[in-house]
């Protein structure tokens, strides 16, 4: 059983965070919250998303799992204005999701959850550095790095207590240096890793510019990006495996 009413913007923010990595996913319809966890086919990027029942206008669920084509669901959600309410109801018999947006009804065929890639276990990482900054700052660093390269280096200078977003291109270099006073918070530690911009750019697209992004970082280790949406009732963790120099 699943029946919910949610604002189009909240639904879209949720779907956007997942669709940067996968085209289809399982959605867990727990009693207290909706949750999605997915990893891309190369096992490079992962997303873990939770949207609390309180983020919905109304929410009733009993722990079922559905498989959805994200692209299609995003298109349907895209038919609504940001403030419009979207009605969702699962038909258990036909295994279809009924969606209603301002007089438009859409019946979405679901995908057998067993046919979707297994949800990943979240690697248990103890990352030594933690940086909290605004989405806009991260976006600025990524945009600049993208001008010169297809990979990006995230680094903490422990002595200066600064966070660096760097890129080395064919001929040009980029370094966005953020002092602790520029940041919302900084726990310095040994942290220096290289990441694919293809992935990071996509993840960054899902992050609002006024969101607080908590970055956990290590040396040649995956990075974790945490942020909230839907007034703190939705949380997302992205995890991205690094590009490494030596194995």
């Amino acid at each position: 059983m699943f029946k919910a009413i949610v604002s189009a913007s909240t639904l879209r923010d949720s779907l956007d965070a997942v669709s940067v990595l996968v085209d289809e996913c399982k959605i867990r319809l727990n009693e207290e919250e909706l949750s999605i966890r997915a990893v891309d086919p190369a096992n490079v990027g992962m997303v873990d998303l939770t949207l609390e029942a309180a983020a919905f206008e109304s929410y009733e669920a009993d722990g079922g799992v559905i498989g959805v084509n994200l692209t299609r669901l995003e298109e349907v959600a895209g038919m609504a204005n940001a403030d419009d309410l979207i009605h969702l109801e699962l038909d258990e018999e036909t295994r279809k999701l009924h969606i209603e947006v301002e007089g438009l009804s859409y019946t979405l065929a679901l995908i057998d959850p067993d046919s979707i890639r297994k949800e990943p276990d979240i690697p248990d990482l103890d990352l030594p550095a933690e940086i909290t900054l605004e989405g806009a700052q991260l976006n600025r660093g990524i945009t600049a790095a993208d001008m010169v390269s297809d990979h990006i280096r995230l680094r903490v200078d422990e002595t200066d207590e600064t966070f660096h977003i760097e890129a080395e291109g064919d001929t040009d270099d980029v370094d966005l240096q953020l002092e602790s006073e520029d940041l919302i918070a900084l726990t310095a530690g040994p942290a220096d890793s290289l990441f694919s911009l293809d992935y990071l750019k996509d993840m960054n697209k899902a992050i609002a510019s006024d969101a607080e992004v908590r970055v956990e970082l290590g040396e040649e280790f995956p990075v974790k990006l945490h942020y909230e949406f839907a007034e703190g009732l939705g949380t997302v963790t992205f995890m991205l495996a690094p590009r490494i120099q030596s194995e």
Binding site: P41, N43, V44, D150, H151, A241, P242, I244
Partner: protein
């Protein structure tokens, strides 16, 4: 930089290339003269030429109104097959001068301003051309020419089919025998509801090499009816390399990875190739280092020219700006090897174009050199970056410069499962 410096360079470039080619081998010019002599002997009356044709050519300028021609080695009818570009050229060990000799021996009887929509055209000049393309051996033709062939010795920037042989405008073309068409090709022809990609991969799986498929695609003989168009030879080569490569890449997705870092090497026609295979999910990059004085970097003081293109596990979405057709040709060679051993992995291909590469022979050279790189012994290394530093001493650029240019030399993509 001042604008006039740039303009001057543009003008010099073409002249310089021509000078290089001429200095290195005068035989090419002799070759064109000897063509004229042979041609005299084979012209039955004023304009009718009887020969055989192993292949066709479709130009790309002015698309969709293109120039398209029947290629025939006038005076060499007995061994016409060897004039058609194929993997056998590598096995034969042809040199750059041999390639030029073969290419310039082919008379291109062509028509210009031909519309590319040909799905139901099986008569007239286009029809004859398509029959030649689908046949698996050279076909007897009689071409009526409008005037004398023009000998146009031009080493152009086109890295595929240059230099070209003599050209003449064709008034008419007729087959003098029934072409032999292999059964699988007939099958793809008959099914005009079959997308070109599927038909290309079908032919590849049935043992046709990309050279044959390229000619068939180029003649507009593959794909769904409304999409059957003449495809310029150069585009067609890249399309087939890319399509077959995507197919092979798809078949490798679930495979185990190679279990060690391997370094393979091959050298052909002044080009050195190192292929580094490393454990992990599929990832590929071609880095080209073009020596000053080589054909695409003619200025001896220019320094090594670097180009690269890269793809991750799911391929690339953007167009390959740098390295162009060589990217897909080298990728095909790597994927065929991985497919043969039933593994996947990370592949970094380093191509050093030395100044011995004085004339452009086409991307087949890249494809065959990489395909044959996996013969014989290979070196080993602890990691991909270790392999790159070992190779470093043979390369014309510093490790730092290579790392700046090459995504994979800077770092290879790890998986979350490794942590």
């Amino acid at each position: 930089m001042r604008l006039d410096e740039y303009l001057e360079y543009e003008a010099d470039e073409a002249a310089e290339r021509r000078r290089l080619a001429e200095e290195k081998n005068y035989e090419i010019l002799d070759q064109l003269e000897s063509f004229e002599n042979r041609f005299e002997e084979h012209v039955t009356d004023d304009s009718l030429v009887g020969s055989v044709s192993p292949s066709i050519f479709v130009g790309r300028s002015n698309y969709p109104e293109v120039s398209t021609g029947i290629l025939s080695p006038v005076g060499h009818e007995d061994d016409a097959g060897r004039f058609e570009t194929s993997g056998e050229w590598y096995d034969e060990g042809v040199g750059i001068a041999d390639v030029f000799e073969r290419r310039t021996s082919l008379l291109n009887s062509n028509r210009t301003g031909v519309g590319v929509d040909v799905h139901d055209a099986w008569d007239g000049f286009t029809g004859v051309q398509r029959e030649i393309a689908i046949a698996d051996r050279p076909v007897g033709v009689e071409v009526g020419l409008d005037g004398r062939p023009e000998v146009d010795y031009d080493v152009s920037r086109d890295d595929v089919a240059t230099p070209v042989g003599p050209r003449a405008t064709a008034q008419s073309a007729d087959l003098t025998e029934n072409p032999h068409v292999p059964r699988p090709v007939e099958k793809t022809l008959e099914d005009d509801d079959w997308q070109a990609q599927g038909a290309i991969n079908y032919l590849y799986r049935r043992g046709f090499d990309v050279y044959d498929i390229n000619t068939i695609l180029s003649a507009g003989a593959l794909g769904q009816a409304e999409n059957r168009k003449l495809v310029p030879t150069r585009w067609s080569i890249t399309a087939v390399d890319d399509t077959v490569g995507q197919y092979l890449r798809g078949t490798l997705r679930g495979n185990r990875s190679v279990d060690s870092v391997q370094v393979w090497h091959n050298e052909y026609l002044g080009n050195s190739f190192w292929v580094v295979l490393a454990p992990g999910k599929w990832e590929y990059e071609l880095v080209e280092m073009k020596a000053p004085g080589s054909i695409w970097n003619p200025d001896p003081d220019a320094g090594t020219y670097l180009a690269s293109a890269h793809e991750q596990f799911e391929g690339r979405t953007g167009y390959v700006d740098e390295t162009a057709g060589a990217y897909y040709a080298a990728r095909l060679g790597v994927l065929e090897h991985l497919s043969e051993i039933g593994r996947q992995g990370k592949a970094l291909v380093l191509r050093h174009v030395s100044d011995d590469y004085w004339g452009p022979v086409g991307v087949w050279q890249v494809r065959e050199a990489v395909r044959h790189a996996f013969e014989g012994e290979h070196g080993t290394a602890e990691s991909l970056s270790g392999a790159v530093s070992e190779i470093g001493s043979h390369l014309p650029v510093s490790a730092a410069r290579l790392r700046r240019k090459s995504t994979m030399a800077a770092g290879v993509q790890s998986s979350l499962l490794e942590f």
